[in-house]
């Protein structure tokens, strides 16, 4: 009998081009997503060395990080220029580089444009069992479909463009097994925040995580994307969920997914992609789903997680001295004091979007809370930024845009928006945002901005009450 393998080992083994004795392998990359921020220097490197893109057909480029989310065309349908000269230059570089190197390009005004990690699955570019990279750490998201997907730096972007491979060493494997079911009102975002709170921001470093348990089997692909997306916030470069019929049903008919006989052959192959009985993980963590409440971050690391029913922790309560010092620094930055109930923390800004939570189910969850309600008077700005033009159109077809607008939200064009403070959508210094994004780092949403990471439903709850709130009291 063949050796029992984990899902990660199966995908890895199927992609080894060359193996060296020291453990480094050349791994073939099946899919490469490219965006405007981490690619200009890579294309420049190719140009200087006189190299070409080896497999433009396995590459897809789209702008997302710094494109403004305000209207992109005027009333007559003419494209509006980007005001910021540096952002414009970066976008123009991608617009030049993609055709110059023969790379398929989805432009900013295309209905298919959106956040790389939303459009990959949506277009069927992401497939189970493929290796996928992008110059963005949240590439981990695509692991939701059983792809071995991870973020890379610009030198590696250049390496993949030139060779369609990477030189890698096999990571260790880690199982995160969730037992039981999520309680009502608790979403995939709450679950992944809880997991990161449990294992820490470096808990998965050096590992590829596989999420296992009934809770993931019962979860939609959208929910799985939220989970896998934040693997990197626990330090894991990649997170996997075994593909199943939910995955296949999601992919069937997508524009870039296999068709006809190819589809049948693909599904037959994908059905082999699971961790074999008896396969060993290097590390295993068990989480009880029944313990989980809607989760919120209080500090400046995604591991700073508490249930909404809890209080701002006392830095003195941490055993580790460096964590105590870090916690006090975080509280100073966040303008919070120990012992304050989370539900007494006022917020001024709401951001619903990002590659973590900007898909149709996220918008539906937020709209369900907002329906018939209005934003509290203390809310200075509330943005909803759909993850792609297609998500936006679907939400409009379902009437969700009306619910958001009537509640007092701005309904925007797709992009990374206020997740990362490199486009006009920012949170002012010293002000507080309930955000569905993935990082609460110092200055992440703009210099001095204070971020609380939450689920879409929790962001909507904060909008209507004007403070962090338990959404379960509103539904």
């Amino acid at each position: 009998m063949a050796l029992a393998k984990t899902l990660y080992e199966k995908i890895w083994d199927a992609h080894v081009v060359d193996q060296r004795d020291d453990g480094t392998a050349i791994i073939f990359i099946d899919r490469h997503l490219v965006h405007e921020v981490t690619s200009p220097q890579a294309f420049e490197g190719l140009r200087m060395a006189g190299r070409k893109v080896r497999r433009p057909d396995l590459t897809l480029a789209v702008p997302d990080h710094n494109v403004p989310t305000t209207a992109r065309v005027d009333a007559a349908g003419n494209r509006l220029p980007i005001a910021d000269p540096e952002s414009r230059a970066q976008l123009e570089a991608l617009e030049r580089n993609a055709p110059a190197f023969g790379v398929p390009y989805i432009e900013a005004t295309d209905i298919r444009q959106g956040i790389v990690h939303v459009i990959g699955p949506e277009q069927g570019f992401t497939l189970p069992g493929c290796t996928m990279v992008c110059g963005d750490s949240h590439t981990a998201a695509h692991g939701a479909l059983g792809a071995l997907a991870f973020g890379i730096g610009t030198s590696e972007v250049e390496h993949v463009l030139a060779t369609q491979t990477l030189q890698l060493k096999r990571s260790k494997s880690m199982e995160i097994r969730v037992e039981g079911d999520l309680p009502p009102g608790v979403s995939p975002k709450d679950l992944i925040l809880h997991i990161i709170g449990q294992i820490g921001a470096a808990g998965g470093t050096g590992h590829v995580v596989e999420y296992r348990g009934r809770v993931f089997e019962q979860m939609s692909v959208e929910g799985r994307l939220t989970i896998a997306n934040m693997s990197i916030e626990a330090g894991a470069r990649a997170g996997l969920i075994a593909p199943d019929y939910t995955t296949f049903a999601y992919l069937k008919g997508r524009p870039m997914a296999p068709k006809g006989a190819d589809w049948d052959a693909a599904v037959a192959y994908w059905r082999t992609l699971h961790t074999d009985h008896g396969a060993q993980f290097d590390k295993s963590v068990v989480i009880d789903a029944a313990d989980i409440a809607p989760s919120v971050t209080w500090g400046t690391s995604p591991e700073d997680v508490v249930p909404i029913t809890g209080m701002i922790p006392d830095p003195e309560s941490f055993a580790d001295a460096s964590k105590r010092a870090a916690a006090q620094k975080s509280l100073d930055y966040m303008g919070l004091s120990a012992g304050t109930p989370l539900t007494e923390v006022p917020v001024e800004h709401i951001f619903i979007g990002s590659c973590t939570n900007s898909r149709i189910e996220d918008l539906r969850a937020a709209a369900a809370v907002l329906k018939g309600r209005r934003n509290a008077p203390g809310i200075k700005s509330a943005l909803v930024v759909p993850g792609s033009g297609l998500v936006k159109r679907q939400a409009e077809d379902e009437g969700l845009d009306r619910i958001f607008i009537e509640a007092g939200f701005e309904w925007r064009e797709p992009g990374c928006s206020a997740c990362l403070g490199m486009n006009p959508d920012k949170v002012p210094a010293g002000e507080r945002c309930a955000s569905t994004s993935n990082r609460n780092f110092v200055g992440r949403q703009g210099p001095g901005a204070r971020t609380h990471l939450v689920s879409p439903a929790m962001a909507a709850a904060a909008a209507v009450t004007g403070r962090l709130s338990d959404v379960r009291a509103l539904v």
Binding site: P40, D84, Q90, S155, F441
Partner: protein, 197 residues
């Protein structure tokens, strides 16, 4: 890439844990199409603090940075490595590094030295007043006070760093193996990797 055999000089005793790449270089600095000049934005939020160590003239152009656990976590932005280089930093010592940062650092000839917390604490102490010496060949960190710590490094990375090798060039040397792989996969799974014309 410049070959690197040793790094010696003052070390900035920063010490903080979970230093994310947004701290190393905030997003507003990523709108560049060049690798140069990012030192200006490096550690911007830390440098806003009065009396911060990065603006202490004693550590100007110090080639080594000492930090806490999980250095370089967060975003994959290679701008973080470029910003460190622009500051003159060619080695970082910490108890652990994020996977993506350590790869980015390596590709830019920055040495990441993993040492246990106790060793890092001792080096923090020394760094306040004295220089530190890192020798890649012998994989050691030494101080003027007879401290000697050895560190592990991947042998392939060590060779590349010491010889300043171009990794893309190395991989392209395996072009035949890549083509053979492509042919094999396009025969088995054409829907994943189509045959090339």
């Amino acid at each position: 890439m410049q070959p690197i055999e040793r790094v010696e000089g003052r070390a900035i005793p920063f010490g903080r844990k979970n230093v994310d790449t947004d701290i190393i270089i905030p997003a507003q600095w990523l709108k560049t199409i060049s690798r140069e000049g990012l030192g200006q934005g490096a550690f911007e939020s830390v440098r806003a603090e009065p009396g911060n160590i990065f603006d202490d003239p004693e550590f100007a152009r110090a080639p080594i940075l000492i930090a806490g656990d999980n250095f370089g976590c967060g975003s994959s932005r290679e701008h973080a490595a470029w910003a460190l280089i622009d500051l003159g930093i060619t080695a970082v010592i910490a108890p652990s590094f994020s996977d993506i940062f350590s790869s980015n650092a390596f590709k830019n000839g920055i040495l990441t030295v993993v040492l246990p917390q106790e060793a890092v604490d001792r080096l923090m102490e020394v760094a306040a007043t004295d220089p530190i010496h890192i020798d890649l060949e012998s994989q050691t960190v030494t101080t003027p006070f007879q401290d000697r710590f050895t560190f592990e490094i991947d042998p392939f990375r060590k060779t590349c760093l010491m010889q300043g090798l171009d990794e893309i060039g190395l991989t392209l040397g395996k072009a035949d193996a890549i083509s053979a792989y492509e042919q094999q996969v396009s025969a088995q799974r054409p829907w994943l990797v189509p045959a090339t014309a």
